[in-house]
Symmetry: C2
Subunit: 572 residues, 2 copies
């Protein structure tokens, strides 16, 4: 391709809309443009990258035996009502109305669609296992679309759905996808970590997220340097808090004391109270499916709502308002406690089991209670894992200190079980002629998000540094003069023609621009290798090869093409 | 690919939903399945065909210098309001509402989107010409989705938009697309004809449709066997009616006569009246942008509403109701006429110019008027082309009789002019630094419709006959026994491996099924070449090669692969 024939609108300035590095570079390198909030047009170079990522995904999915299909964007609400997700995922569903006022949905995923297809087309265990995938546009009604392609209204997703006759088969299907995902991201030049994750509204038995570590990531992950444990912070467990919970159970009886104005854990750690946070019980009131419940965690811990959802088996809950709290316990936030509470369910974090000598609110504004021994003084209905693990706590697998990092979720695989096959009738006849629900798995890759995650991980102050496998063009040929009659342009054309001939994706920067402008643009766009041809080096029969992230080398003009191909093969 | 590893749910019976041949075969060959009215899931084989068609389109568009981009499906209504199409195309637009109740549209095409992009990114004549295209999913709120992929709610379209500095450039861009389309359809094995067409709601100066002749087509085209003239029936012209309009202007004065119960042209041709249809004037009352108008055509002609729209420059019109008609002319349909009418605009078809001795309604129920001489007795405000051309009329280019045919519209190219660039601000600075609107063209191919049109043109009683260029697999290898230890399967595996090695898209029918079932399925799906391997012919060291639409040939086992590749090259 010649630069003047394609369309690469690079920008010197960063558009105001862009917050994170990859979003800025996406726009500055002329890969995409914003149409409206959360909606982007892919320009020629951005689309080339997208197609290369899609090709890698397709190859690996096919290699894993998955079959490509394409399902419609518009979906009938009836199947979403059957699966229950019409309600569970209502927040992110776009509703569409046709001229007959009939409602349609724009699908964020296609579990329902593929399951009804399998329900009508697959009847026998002999037709299983099957794994269907598609690479298509998906829709999600985001509260606040942001970060470019990271959280968009509309995005490209690769989604796959496996159907097996039994758990063992389903586990094999799951592992195949785990392995395929690992290869896909590696081939895209993206560093990822597979972490244990919650299943959320998709449902299912267990799941892994593929996380690309990056400062700007919206997720936090917890991992052991050994590689033996990694989990989303929403799911992560440890051997417990680093400072043990006090468990002296021979203390005095509970004692109410005045704490005027001390409304936070932090305030009670200060004089005149001097109660360390881990000697305090944090009391929260939540409304779960319209009913109030009390949640207890240690004063130095944070409630983990994903764990709460998982423990309660519902996602319908929220913190109670101060008015609601006052109505049920007779006090305002800052003075809450569970001592003597009987009318409400009390759920406590495991770390509080056996705790004694604790301080908690008295359910009377301006008062707390000390010398609390949980087993004696509080009626706990259920012990749960409700706290968020902290960096430095010890790994359940190895005992080593856990680390945390920010990361971008680029893939998510789920062992679904029979949730959808049962509800939507995807039954098959087993060897004995008995109908059984297929055991499902589902597997997603955010394709457009992966593109931007690669940029987020792979850039420097000058621009993007594309991995060769997904670069819009592999080699940028930069003649420093473009007079058509000159020797410089003649050599550039020759190298260009030879590279194309040998199957290298090359772009010839034939613009009549200063060398500085061309160099800056090629670095901004991030072509993996640049070859510069100028009068001075040509006088010595040399050209300059500059890997985007490496050192400039001078090579004989006649050897340039071979050296370039060597370089490509070494990096690919 | 092995048949047992992919998913080809062929059907013996035709599902009730399918009306036309290609729709039946689409389902029976296991290429696609219906999710809901106008919504289809592409199964693995259908998607392979779709991808092959897309690859051909992409190659030819790139060859023509067009640049691939990808625009969002969701579009902000603001840009559609600016272009005026929010109203003009409202009927086919899906309206989407997000959680903030903000409205979005699902785009049937992307003129607005690309024009605002160009408006913000292209400023100088030096950056032009440009032609951007995309192959993406589009949406259209059809009154009655039908015929499978032919008229779906959601479909894949290739749309392209060219921007030029002047008319000459725009004509070149248009011609490049005309040529690319011609090559694309030819390479897909689809017979098409480029016909002159109306521009409709898209707008613009002129356009051509690419029509694939087929009995089931929803369009009618008119063409001259010479190839020098072809047009959509909505647009077609001729040298005029075959029977001339009577033009004797020395007749008697108009005379009212009673015609009790004769309310149609046909009725007046019967005794006792015996007025030939071409001696009658058909009088129609239409409401055009809320105002009544009278339209006159010859009794044996049909009003052509597309021509009316074009002549009036509006698409907002409809036939008046009997009540509306009575209110303006004082008579009911069946007795209408324009003699003596003064309060309303009267538009008459050119074929009536100079007509004399005509019969028309008297605007009094149960009466007609004869001896009407238009120039003398009717005040015609404007002479227009309002009639539909009929088969056998003479070609304006050659004078030969015109033919008509049914056809499927698979492509449409428009010379748009500056409609969108002016309204949406796509201006560039010309050589003199003066802002000018870009001259646009837009170009569409119905990709999924093309797939089905190929089936519609290329099938027989046994199933589809795929052109090699777009076949899901080129060669189907059919071992007549599948015992793994047997020689038959060994030879099949060997031929399969050799074909794959040599880059041939082959499928091995490794199902444990009777030969008859396998043959039937391979014919139904329509693989271009089948090679059957059976014990009997193998005993003579032979295998059977059967082109889908040709004769069976016996070839030496050792020569099979070379013969297959020869056959493929000859047909491709």
């Amino acid at each position: 391709m010649r630069w003047t024939r394609t369309f690469i609108p690079t920008l010197k300035e960063t558009p105001a809309e862009a917050e994170i590095t990859s979003h800025k570079l996406l726009l500055r390198a002329g890969l995409a443009r914003r149409l409206a909030g959360g909606l982007y047009t892919f320009l020629p170079l951005g689309l080339r990258v997208l197609h290369k990522i899609e090709a890698i995904i397709r190859e690996e999915m096919n290699r894993a035996g998955a079959l490509e299909v394409a399902m419609p964007c518009l979906q009938p609400p009836e199947i979403w009502q059957k699966s229950g997700r019409y309600t569970d995922m209502n927040e992110v569903l776009y509703h569409v109305y046709d001229r007959a006022k009939k409602e349609w949905l724009l699908g964020p995923t296609h579990e329902e669609n593929i399951t009804v297809l399998v329900a009508s087309e697959i009847n026998s265990y002999r037709q299983l296992p099957k794994n269907f995938y598609q690479i298509t546009v998906k829709f999600r009604d985001e509260i606040r679309p942001r970060f470019g392609l990271m959280r968009a209204r509309e995005f490209i997703m690769k989604d796959a759905y496996s159907f097996d006759v039994d758990e063992r088969g389903a586990d094999i299907s799951y592992q195949k996808m785990y392995d395929a995902y690992t290869r896909i991201f590696a081939r895209c030049g993206l560093r990822t970590m597979a972490v244990e994750a919650h299943t959320g509204a998709i449902g299912g038995r267990f799941s892994h997220e593929f996380m690309a570590p990056a400062e700007s990531g919206e997720n936090e992950i917890v991992y052991c340097a050994s590689g033996k444990y990694a989990a989303n912070i929403e799911k992560a467990v440890s051997r417990g808090p680093l400072v043990p919970t006090p468990k002296d159970s021979t203390g005095p009886a509970p004692e109410k004391f005045a704490t005027p104005g001390a409304l936070t854990i932090e305030a009670l750690t200060q004089p005149p109270y001097n109660v360390p946070a881990h000697y305090q019980i944090k009391t929260l009131v939540y409304i779960v499916e319209s009913k109030p419940v009390i949640l207890l965690i240690r004063g130095d811990d944070q409630l983990n709502e994903a764990k709460l959802a998982s423990a309660l088996g519902t996602m319908t809950f929220r913190p109670a308002t101060p008015e609601e709290i006052y109505a049920v316990v007779g006090a305002h936030p800052g003075s809450l406690g569970a001592v003597g509470v009987t009318g409400l369910p009390v759920y406590a974090d495991e770390s509080l089991r056996g705790a004694a000598g604790m301080t908690t609110g008295a359910n009377e504004d301006g008062y707390h209670i000390r010398h609390v021994e949980i087993a004696r003084d509080i009626k706990v209905h259920q012990w749960l894992d409700l706290r968020t693990v902290k960096e430095g706590e010890l790994c359940v697998a190895t005992g080593a200190p856990l680390q945390t990092a920010r990361a971008i979720e680029v893939g998510h695989i789920f062992k679904l079980g029979t949730k959808y096959s049962t509800k939507l009738g995807a039954l098959f006849l087993d060897e004995h002629g008995k109908p059984q629900p297929a055991i499902m798995g589902c597997y997603g890759i955010g394709v457009t998000r992966t593109l931007q995650a690669i940029i987020e991980q792979s850039n420097d102050k000058d621009g993007i540094i594309w991995p060769i496998s997904v670069a819009p063009y592999t080699v940028c040929i930069t003649p420093l003069e473009t007079t058509q009659s000159g020797q410089v342009m003649a050599v550039a054309e020759q190298i260009y023609a030879q590279l194309i001939e040998r199957g290298v994706d090359a772009i010839l920067d034939d613009r009549d621009e200063r060398a500085g402008v061309k160099f800056k643009d090629s670095e901004l766009v991030g072509f993996p290798i640049r070859v510069a041809i100028g009068g001075k080096s040509l006088a010595n029969d040399m050209v300059e090869i500059k890997p985007r992230a490496g050192k400039l080398i001078l090579v004989k003009k006649a050897e340039a093409v071979n050296r370039l191909i060597e370089l490509i093969q070494r990096c690919a």
